[in-house]
């Protein structure tokens, strides 16, 4: 870090660095740019003219793709959004409460419980899928969004809990004690003091929950089996017809762009908070 200023003052080196960064950025985003470009090409040109600038510009993929599946694509987006919102609310609430308990309260076997929780981080998701499915089947909750959102209200994302525990440990205990002197019980300390101070970490939790839930395909595929209940990723899958091999690529790309739009908007809007969150939570190595 200490030599950064001298590098910055050297124009040649600076230009070189700039070029390198731009090259990497283009390389990284090329697939995305290609996807966007292709979504505006007529179906026939997508693979025959694979350049980034469309020879022929059309909105047909968007207009047709929107209604192609019998249900407007907006419904799938809405389904996804509902699941995301509930998952975010669930995670914000449950993970922060759990983290507060681990970081601040003394209860029997708290260390052991914390260790076990961290162990679940190493448990592959696929190990738990089957037993979980059987449980939800017995509860009659398959083909509803319950299996997708209910667990989020019970602090199942160990990573977020860990993140928040670390953050809460960094909050001076004097604040808890000042609040205690001011008449707060543990719940009030959590709600009035700890929870609001955790905001940068909570923004991260919300954004990552959104990212992971929005682009989650596997568990949504397992639990939802009616087209009207499908989420955006499941709907996109319908455009690929594996048996006949006649996939509607143009429409798939167009709807993919639409599906990506919320993520993009989110990043633009919350860029600053995300950076702040990553900096203050020590997420960056």
């Amino acid at each position: 870090m200490s030599e950064a200023p001298t590098q910055a003052t050297n124009p040649a080196r600076r230009a070189g660095r700039m070029l390198l960064l731009i090259a990497v950025a283009v390389l990284m985003s090329y697939p995305l740019l290609w996807l966007i470009a292709s979504s505006f090409k007529p179906e026939s040109l997508i693979f025959s003219d694979p350049g980034l600038i469309p020879a022929q510009f059309t909105l047909a993929n968007y207009l047709e793709g929107w209604n192609r599946l019998g249900v407007p694509f907006g419904i799938f987006m809405l389904n996804s959004a509902v699941i995301c919102v509930l998952a975010i609310v669930g995670n914000l609430f449950s993970c922060s409460v759990a983290a507060y308990a681990f970081a601040r309260l003394e209860f029997p076997f708290s260390k052991l419980a914390f260790g076990l929780m961290l162990l679940t981080l190493m448990l592959p998701f696929h190990v738990t899928v089957l037993p979980q499915y059987i449980v939800f089947q017995n509860l009659g909750a398959v083909n509803t969004i319950i299996p997708l959102v209910l667990p989020k209200f019970f602090a199942v994302d160990a990573f977020f809990i860990f993140l928040l525990v670390q953050f809460i440990r960094g909050i001076p205990r004097d604040l808890d004690q000042a609040a205690e002197m001011d008449g707060c019980n543990k719940y009030q300390i959590f709600w009035h003091i700890i929870f609001p101070i955790c905001r940068p970490a909570l923004v991260l939790v919300a954004i990552f929950t959104f990212l992971w839930t929005w682009s989650d395909f596997f568990s949504q595929l397992i639990y939802l089996n009616q087209v009207e209940k499908y989420t955006a990723p499941l709907a996109l899958n319908l455009f690929i017809d594996a048996t006949s091999g006649e996939s509607a690529w143009g429409m798939l790309f167009a709807m993919s762009v639409i599906t990506l739009l919320p993520l993009f908007i989110l990043f633009v809007l919350f860029q600053r908070q995300i950076a702040e969150g990553i900096a203050t939570t020590g997420l960056k190595g």
Binding site: P172, D174, L175, Q177, A178, A179, E180, M181, D182, G183, C184, Q188, H192, I193, P196, I197, R199
Partner: protein, 362 residues
């Protein structure tokens, strides 16, 4: 009336006793200062009064009522933390109002009390600011304001000025002295490292050492009549000079000899002691004065001279190698290597027995 009584109070952390046998009565409206070396248990004792630390044994009475198990908020006690502990996500108004909001006090009453506290502490222009937009002194005042707003009967301060720079510390100390006048019925307990704060603010000083009370008394009493070596060395700055001396107790009085030479003093009684002991003679740097060689009690060579503006401090080594400090007016020109002959009024001498306890004067 007694606001707070500690009866034989103890506290240990996993076998290590950090507060032992503390017995103390604090009167209503009194300003009591806890002093003592780092780690002696000042903060712990304060936090036990606040209710933030449990009490292992003994009794805490608040207004005469047993209060060991009363939760902090119900004790009628407010605390000002060393770190200020302002809520970073609330502005000054919200910080001040928070305890009242939790207590479901009505909006107009909250407004009134916060405004009154803000006026008293000149915080009105900053009510809309967040703590991080305030200077150290302003944060300190908000922390005090939080205590005022609660209209608590007892204020506890844990080294409230230690994070401020020297000038601000003096200014805030004077504010606290004013606050003490305005809130004459409020009992205040104050922890500090700073001699000047302790001497100027305290009605009574409690000197703590390793979890025990060494002495309790008015500042001047501690200064004039320290009960033992520890208090003698702790109160006063620069610290009292200690010189080894041989004490002979005879017929209820004490004879003092240094290096075989008898010293003339206004009599110390033996306090029931007998025989000969290796004791300590104490004299404060500010009580030493130049004397002729014949009249001198002590003679030594100047090692180092410090000019502090209004006073000059001479670091000396006596003939027998004992270090000694003397404090003079700045009019005195001193030089390194100079030999000084010093005397002190007999009434300014202190004498301690082999156990470090002060000998009573006649």
């Amino acid at each position: 009336m007694t606001a707070i009584s500690l009866r034989d109070v103890r506290k240990s952390y996993g076998g290590l006793e950090v507060i032992s046998d503390v017995d103390l009565d604090i009167e209503t409206g009194e300003f009591v200062v806890f002093v003592g070396p780092s780690g002696c248990g000042k903060s712990t004792l304060l936090r036990m009064i606040a209710g933030l630390e449990g009490i292992n044994a003994g009794e805490l009475l608040i207004d005469g009522k047993f209060a060991n198990d009363v939760p902090p908020a119900r004790r009628g006690i407010a605390m000002v933390f060393q770190s200020y502990a302002l809520y970073p996500h609330m502005n000054v108004f919200e910080n001040l109002a928070f305890s009242l909001k939790i207590a479901h006090v009505g909006k107009p009453e909250i407004e009134r009390r916060v405004q009154a506290a803000a006026d008293m502490l000149q915080l009105t222009p900053y009510l809309k600011r967040r703590p991080r937009q305030l200077s150290g002194g302003q944060r300190q005042r908000v922390a005090i304001g939080r205590a005022i707003v609660r209209e608590a009967k007892v204020f506890l301060f844990d080294e409230p000025l230690s994070n401020l720079d020297a000038a601000l510390r003096v200014a805030t100390r004077i504010e606290i002295a004013r606050l003490k006048e305005r809130l004459a019925d409020t009992t205040m307990v104050y922890v500090t490292h700073d001699q000047v704060e302790a001497m100027t603010l305290a009605d009574r000083i409690v000197v703590l050492n390793a979890g025990r009370i060494e002495q309790v008394g008015r500042p001047v009493d501690l200064y004039d009549n320290p009960r033992n070596l520890f208090v003698a060395g702790f109160i006063g700055s620069p610290a009292m000079n200690f010189l080894p001396a041989t004490l002979t107790f005879e017929n209820g009085s004490t004879r003092i000899e240094r290096n075989g030479k008898p010293l003339v003093t206004t009599g110390f009684t033996s306090g029931g002691r007998a025989g000969v002991q290796n004791g300590t003679l104490g004299v404060r740097p500010e009580h030493l004065d130049l004397a002729s060689p014949e009249a001198a009690l002590f003679s030594g060579t100047v090692d180092l001279v410090e000019h502090l503006g209004e006073v000059t401090i001479a670091y000396m080594r006596l003939d027998d190698g004992t270090p000694m400090l003397a404090k003079f007016d700045r009019t005195r020109e001193l030089e390194k290597g100079e030999i000084l002959h010093l005397k002190a009024e007999p009434s300014d001498l202190h004498c301690f027995d082999a156990d470090g306890m002060a000998l009573p004067r006649r």
